[in-house]
Point group: C2
Chain length 442, copies 2
């Protein structure tokens, strides 16, 4: 069943020719990707895994060279006044290189989704019908300053049999060029087409607009970056995207909550990390337990430096418990993703009001109820219209690794195709396969 | 777990107020649908089935009234010079009413996909993670003159818990109004919100443009109609669509085919019905068997009045077998969906050339190989990039009923979300559900 995979002679990190129109250049990259994706889709698991293990090896071997390329980017970015958080994301470091190599090995160890056939059933006409998992085709990854995305995304696309077009932030261009050269070497070593992973070799911002304008060359765009990037792409893209705009996640502490669990979950969901999309931004508390649980949580948050933006009722409870520095919440707070040590708090009548609040102000990302009441928990799961809904767990657990996907290319808040954390399966499609013995339509 | 479903007072077939802007009107319909979809998503299976069975009953009861409304449409369309094929699609008839009622009963008998939870697995942190099937939300159906689509589509959307906005062709407006009134009556009888199924109550063509411009109110558009409609919507729609543009389907007769099966399949795939999207439009034949099988097929096609457009090689074979009236195929023939008694025929070297031809000229709809060679059959399944790929079966079997889906809202040639015939499952989405016991992120 395996067909020989032939090399394409073209380079995967071709830059535009001097004077070449950037639109023509991106079209050429797209055409190469479209050709290469057919070959990669047919590649056997063994070749894809050989490529990934070789890639991990080459990353470790080329560590010093990678760090030198990265240092050029970091120095240029620092001189250009990039802020320290972005500089931090841009910087690779020895641990960063090792993390990339380990990540690629983990992807190699995952089961290959491509070619599996599910649910074959005999039907009255005599045909047997099932569904075969196949690659989507060409995935465009648009990201910002993190160079590790170059390797992480390429590894997931290689494993799932998809060609990739990578467009990283201009600050990381030297790091990305060095990484793309290593990926190409690993592809060639495994007999896979080098143009199946291409890096857009220009920092011209117009290239992004062209990349999202060609559904004939690119099947899906995965944007990895801040709200500004995603909003721009939502306006411009003619290619479907796997994306989420923001994560306004809630924990609702129900009347029937185990309050020890409630405190543990509400603490972790807010304070384990502030800048992630699955961090809780609004805490909802049932009136009957607010007086008991809010003072305990208020003390924890205050000790950790979290600013509390409160509805009048929660403010009264927290103030009388001696919590200082409270801020009155406005309507805008319910619809804000802080990505910072700030938490909105609201007292609600019960599960109905909690579900209404979440479906009104949330972003369909991840929401959790803390309750021991079975029926209320199941209602929350059914009626909260979010990609991940939880009973008695921290929203921070909404993650590809924690869900057992092995790795994550992104998170989708949309309902079509992939929803929630997206792993290898989200980079594939199911087509119908029919096994017949001469059957015809009557 | 069931919540009471409350009635919305608004009428589901509200027409715009005199002088009201059609954009404002469609927005209002969208807002009603968005509100109603929340209630329908929570509706228990029993209520949805009660509604469908009541609908079947009311359709039969109101048969004469429906035929009178339909007669008004038909008379107006005939006076307006509508062609006879379109008049035929517009005409309901007693059998048409009975077919609608039976179809609705069949949908009632299908399993409810909403609320099922799949693949719950324990994970290292202690949480158990699965996926719950839930409705998409609001489905917009845009169709042409067939009034039965009003009922067929509404039934599938009701069963899958989705609110529907129906926009039928202006020629069918009286029939559609009468059908929508009956649907509303059935909804009310089952205690479901009447505004969960709304008919756009104006024939203003601008309404379609507005309907596809509001992703905040409409989650998916399902266009049912000819190429012109689909192409227009592909340009205009800001809402994702479940659609296919055309069906250029192939049968490839391999060197290792059972020639009895080959003749039966190639005959059925072309001549069982000419105007359907899963009808074969191009026949590919391996060189080694062309001299044997083409004369037999040529005689059958000629007897049935099928015009044959041939490559030079197939033309020589057919001509020397005494088949008259052959037409030389041009490149355009390989990329044409005839929807008529016309067939393009090409001789190829073998399975490689067949796969290349299909992936180059096909429309990713349905393609079949006739072969007894296991490895070649499996390669065809893997490498032909179409929504349905078949071994030894007629392309005419690519159909929701034949695949056991029970019914079909449409067929998708796209790779994201639903692919191939789309039934109830394609109108739903999977969200992650997490069952915890106080777990947090470490």
């Amino acid at each position: 069943m395996n067909t020989p995979v032939t090399h394409s002679p073209a380079s995967p990190i071709l830059a535009p020719e001097p004077g070449e129109d950037v639109g023509d250049y991106v079209r050429q990259v797209g055409q190469e990707a479209r050709r290469a994706c057919v070959l990669l889709a047919r590649a056997p698991s063994a070749a894809k895994n050989r490529c990934l293990l070789e890639l991990a090896h080459l990353l470790r071997q080329a560590r010093d060279e990678l760090l030198r390329a990265n240092a050029v980017d970091v120095a240029r970015a620092r001189a250009g006044g990039l802020d320290s958080a972005a500089l931090d994301r841009l910087t690779l470091g020895e641990k960063g290189v090792e993390a990339m190599a380990t990540g690629v090995e983990q992807v190699a160890a995952l089961a290959d989704p491509v070619g599996s056939i599910e649910q074959v059933r005999p039907l009255p006409s005599g045909i047997r019908v099932g569904r075969m998992r196949v690659p989507l085709g060409v995935i465009g990854i648009i990201y910002e300053s993190r160079p590790n995305v170059t390797v992480d995304a390429a590894a997931l696309c290689i494993k799932s049999g998809n060609a990739t077009i990578l467009r990283g932030g201009s600050e990381a261009i030297e790091s990305n060029r060095a990484l793309a050269a290593i990926i190409a070497e690993a592809m060639a070593a495994a007999g896979l087409p080098r143009t199946a992973v291409q890096l857009i070799g220009t920092t011209d911002r117009a290239a992004v607009g062209h990349l999202v304008s060609h559904p004939e060359y690119v099947d899906v765009i995965v944007p990895r970056g801040g709200r500004g990037l995603i909003e721009r792409l939502m306006r411009e893209s003619k290619v479907p995207m796997i994306k989420h705009l923001d994560g306004i996640c809630h924990v609702y502490i129900d009347d029937d909550a185990d309050l020890e669990q409630a405190v543990r979950i509400a603490d972790n969901a807010k304070t384990q990390r502030y800048g992630t999309c699955n961090t809780m931004e609004t805490l909802l508390v049932a009136r009957s337990v607010a007086g008991t649980v809010l003072p305990r949580l208020g003390a924890i948050y205050t000790a950790k430096g979290v600013e509390l933006r409160c509805c009048p009722e929660s403010m009264a409870i927290l103030a009388s418990a001696g919590i200082a520095k409270l801020v009155a919440a406005t309507d805008a707070d319910w619809a804000t993703e802080y990505l910072a040590p700030i938490l909105a708090i609201r007292v609600v009548a019960g599960v109905d009001e909690a579900i209404d609040h979440i479906n009104t102000y949330g972003s369909k990302h991840t929401d959790s109820i803390v309750t021991m009441h079975h029926a209320k928990g199941m209602r929350f799961l059914r009626e909260v219209d979010s990609a991940s809904v939880m009973i008695n767990a921290s929203t921070r657990l909404a993650d590809g690794f924690e869900y057992g996907l092995g790795a994550e290319i992104g998170i989708s808040n949309d309902k079509l195709h992939a929803r929630g954390p997206v792993g290898l399966e989200g980079l594939t499609s199911l087509k119908y396969v029919v096994f017949g013995d001469g059957e015809v339509r009557r």
